[in-house]
Point group: C2
Chain length 316, copies 2
C-alpha cells in the first residue's frame, strides 16, 4: 500500500517513525512542512524537516523530540559569551547540518535535492520531501503584531495571542515535483498528529497538493487529546481563534478531506459527531510515549485506513 | 612607551602575548593582518585576528597556536558526514565566533568595531585592530594558477610553488582610523616574527600605513632562524621566489624601514651585514617555546628598541 504522510515536527516524526517500522521502505513517502523554515545567524534552518530526518536516521534527541542525541552546545555558548542571540537552541552537531545545507543552497541546489542526498547519507531509505522548494514562511498575526513563526514560537514561546496566520507567497509556490508524483501514486494519505494551523495547513495550501488528495483515502490522527495539544500551541491557538479546542474541532478543520479520523479514548464522545460529519471515527490510544507505541498507533492507523478502503462506500 | 605591534598569526601572537605581559595595557596596540581573511561555509573568518585575540584572552589552543583550547569538533564532523568540506578545521567554540561576527557584519557593523566589542567581552584591555575594514584578500601566484590564500595555505598545505602575491583592491583600501591615530602616537613600531610576504606586507601595503611609520623607530624580529621558518611557508616562499631564505633576506625585505632587527644566535653571522645595511642587529634567543620565553623576548625587544631611541643617530 503506497502511503504518503503529511507531517510537521515532533508529533509527525513519531507517527512517521512508527509507519517506517512497518511499511516496506518504498511504500512510505513523507511530505514535510517547511512553513516554519527560517534564516537565523545566516543559516537556513528547517526545523520540521530536520526533526523528521533525525528521527528516521536514529539521530534524534529522545528527550526533546527535536535536535540531536548526545549533542553539545559549545558554539551557542560561544555566541552567547559574545552577546549574540541564543534564543534558538542550535547544538554543535545540528549546526553542521545547517552550515552544509546553507552552503549547498547558496550554490543553487534545491532543498529537496539536498534533503534526498542527506537522507541517503544518513541511511534513510524512505522518501522524505519538503513540501516545496519555494520559500513560504509562516507569519502569525498576534496581539503584538505580525510575527515570523519562529519569533512567535520559540523566541516569544507562543505567549502572544493569535488572531490568524499567513503563508507568504504560497499562491506562487510549487510543490516539489516528486511530491506530486508520489501523491498521484498514493493509495493512502495520512495526516500526522501535527498542528493543523501551522504544520498541516501550509502543506495543504501549496497549490496542487490539496486537490490531488481530495479523491484519495485521507486519514488523520488528532493532535488534540482531551482538549489539550500533546505538544505545542495547537489548543491555545484554537482558543484564541474562538474555537473550543478539541479533536472534533480538528476534524471540522480538515472537513470533507477526511475519510477517517483517529481519536483518543479520552475523546470517544466525539465519535457520534464525527459520523454525522461523514467522517469515520476510530478510537484508540493515540499518545506515543515509546517507540513501541509509535509502532502500535501506526499499525492501528494503517489497519483502519485499509478497512475504510475496503468499504463499499469508499471504492473508487 | 607607546608601542604598536604589526602582527600576523601564531608567531605574532606569541610576541604580542609577551609584550602584553610587560607593557601597561594602554601602551600596546596591535595591528593585525586581515589579508588571509576569507568566507567559508558562509562565515567570515579572520584567522590572524582570531589567533591574536584568542591568545590575549587566554583562550588559545596551546598546542596548535591557532583555534581554541578544550575545543570540540562536532559541527565539522557533522559537515563531513554530510559530504561537506572539512579541510578548514573549524571547532565548535570557534564556530560560535564566526557565526556571531558574520551576523554582525551582515548587519552593517565594521570588523574593527565588532573586534573591539569582542575584545571587551573577552577581557582584553589592549587595543587590537584589523589593519583595515576593507576586504583585501591575498592571492598567491603559483605553478597551478592563482589561488586564494587559504586555498594555498590550508587546503593545498602550501604545496604549490609560489611565484608572487597579490593583495586584491589594496590600493583602494583604508586603514582603520584608530590604527592611523595609534601609529601617529606610537614611539615604537614592532614588526612581529610573522611571514613578511603574506602577514606583514599586506599591513604595510594599506595606503598610509607604511608612510606613517617610516619616520618612527621600527624594530622587527626575524621569523626565519637558521634558514628555516619557525612555522609556516616563509622559508619555502623565499626559495621559490629565488631568494636564499635567511634572517638577512628578511631584513633586506623590510630594508630602510628598520632601525633594528632582532635575530637568533644561530644567525649571528649576519650581524655584520645588517650593520652594512644600516640596520642595528640584536642577537638573542628568538624561539618562544614557553610563555616565559615570550616575555623574555618581548623584554629584550623593548630594551633594544629603547637603546636605539636613545642613540644620538636615532633622535628625531
Amino acid at each position: 500500500m503506497k502511503v504518503v504522510a503529511l507531517a510537521g515536527g515532533v508529533g509527525g516524526a513519531k507517527l512517521v517513525d512508527g509507519l517506517a517500522s512497518i511499511l516496506p521502505d518504498d511504500e512510505l513517502t513523507v511530505v514535510v512542512n517547511t512553513g516554519d523554515d527560517f534564516t537565523h545567524l545566516g543559516l537556513y534552518i528547517c526545523p520540521d524537516l530536520d526533526t523528521i530526518c533525525y528521527t528516521l536516521a536514529g539521530l534524534a534527541n529522545p528527550t526533546t523530540g527535536w535536535g540531536r542525541a548526545d549533542e553539545t552546545w559549545n558554539a551557542l555558548d560561544s555566541i552567547g559569551s559574545l552577546g549574540g542571540p541564543t534564543w534558538f537552541r542550535l547544538g554543535d552537531k545540528d549546526l553542521g547540518l545547517h552550515l552544509e545545507r546553507t552552503r549547498r543552497l547558496q550554490q543553487g541546489e534545491k532543498l529537496s535535492a539536498i534533503t534526498s542526498d542527506f537522507c541517503h547519507r544518513w541511511g534513510i531509505s524512505q522518501r522524505i520531501y519538503p513540501m516545496s522548494d519555494d520559500r513560504v514562511p509562516t507569519w502569525v498575526y498576534t496581539d503584538v503584531g505580525e510575527l515570523p513563526f519562529q519569533e512567535y514560537f520559540v523566541h516569544r514561546q507562543c505567549r502572544p495571542v493569535v488572531s490568524g496566520f499567513r503563508f507568504a507567497d504560497i499562491d506562487q509556490a510549487h510543490p516539489v515535483p516528486e511530491v506530486v508524483t508520489e501523491l498521484e501514486k498514493a493509495e493512502l494519505i495520512i495526516i500526522c498528529p501535527s498542528n493543523p494551523w501551522v504544520s498541516v495547513d501550509p502543506i495543504l495550501s501549496i497549490p496542487g497538493i490539496k486537490s490531488s488528495i481530495e479523491a484519495k483515502c485521507v486519514v488523520a490522527v488528532s493532535p488534540i487529546v482531551g482538549g489539550k495539544a500533546l505538544k505545542g500551541p495547537a489548543a491555545k491557538m484554537y482558543s484564541e481563534l474562538g474555537i473550543n479546542p478539541s479533536a472534533f474541532a480538528v476534524a471540522q478543520h480538515y472537513g470533507q478531506l477526511l475519510a477517517g479520523f483517529v481519536i483518543d479514548h479520552l475523546d470517544v464522545d466525539f465519535a457520534g459527531e464525527l459520523i454525522k460529519l461523514g467522517i469515520h471515527p476510530y478510537v484508540t490510544d493515540t499518545i506515543m510515549r515509546t517507540r513501541r507505541e509509535r509502532r502500535q498507533l501506526a499499525e492501528t492507523v494503517l489497519e483502519f485506513a485499509l478497512s475504510l478502503r475496503n468499504r463499499p462506500d469508499q471504492e473508487e
